[in-house]
């Protein structure tokens, strides 16, 4: 049904939805990059809650936009993408990134991020999460961009 809507609603539909996908990815990655670099140890003078506060909801919004538009793009010609190897890199990378979010946000290191008694172990936990996040999202975006060039 979605695929049919994508195919029969005018010649600009794919381009406009593709634009939405890019804006969603840009919103997601822009916010994620700032947060991950802070988790990795940049801008230590800025308290982590001051950075996590705005970046988390912005990244979440970007992800939701990218997910909805992405499904619509895939549905346009679902069968054509079935054998595309870059999808097999992209979707596991997104799964790793989301799993990383679930894991880190359940850790005490994240829950107590504002406290002055943060120990080195907490900082290390958060830095690892930031590194995994950057690697996973860059892989997902890199593979995603290559889908059209296969």
């Amino acid at each position: 049904m979605l695929g049919h809507a994508m195919r029969s609603s005018g010649v600009w539909t794919y381009g406009v939805v593709n634009l939405g996908h890019i804006l969603g990815v840009a919103t997601l990655f822009g916010a994620v990059l700032v947060l991950d670099l802070r988790l990795l140890g940049l801008w230590r003078t800025v308290p982590l809650p001051s950075i996590a506060g705005p970046t988390v909801p912005v990244a979440t919004t970007g992800f939701v936009i990218a997910a909805f538009t992405g499904v619509a793009l895939l549905a346009t010609k679902a069968t054509e993408y079935a054998g595309n190897p870059f999808l097999l890199i992209k979707f596991p990378a997104i799964a790793v990134a989301l799993l990383n979010v679930a894991v880190v946000t359940s850790r005490p290191a994240w829950k107590h991020m504002g406290r002055p008694d943060q120990v080195a172990g907490d900082r290390r936990t958060l830095a690892v999460a930031g590194a995994v996040s950057l690697a996973a999202w860059l892989t997902a975006i890199g593979a995603g961009r290559m889908i059209g060039y296969w």
Binding site: Y14, G15, A127, L134, A135, W150
Partner: protein, 123 residues
């Protein structure tokens, strides 16, 4: 240490992703040589997706005909109803450089004395 390792992992993933990049958007995955094909329309023009497409049966194969992006294809007069299924058409363009793939990135489609020039700025 963790940071350095993940940076190199990211770079490795990028290199792996970029290396086998072939055609679809560009012309680099297609042969330089001009290619012509005459056959019958198997599936009418579709103006959906990143590029308009159609299918043509020729030389005992069904060929994927990749056209210009949908707005440009439509501007050349080529839409879903322009050529009926079963009509004999001539395709001019560049064949996929993989000889196992029957795909032509197409510059012109000729049918019934009419030429649909979807890439008028190319030979």
């Amino acid at each position: 240490m963790q940071t350095r390792r993940s940076v190199s992992m990211t770079l490795a993933a990028f290199v792996m992703a970029v290396l086998p990049a072939a055609a679809h958007h560009g012309w680099s995955g297609n042969s330089q040589e001009e290619f012509e094909l005459t056959g019958t329309v198997e599936q009418a023009v579709s103006l959906a997706g990143p590029h308009a497409t159609m299918k043509v049966r020729a030389q005992g194969q069904v060929w994927e005909i990749t056209l210009a992006p949908p707005p440009r294809t439509q501007a050349a007069g080529l839409n879903e109803k322009a050529i009926p299924v079963g009509a004999e058409v001539k395709i001019h363009g560049h064949r996929n450089s993989d000889p196992k793939r029957f795909e032509v990135k197409t510059e012109r489609v000729t049918w019934n004395g009419k030429t649909f020039n979807v890439y008028p700025d190319r030979d």
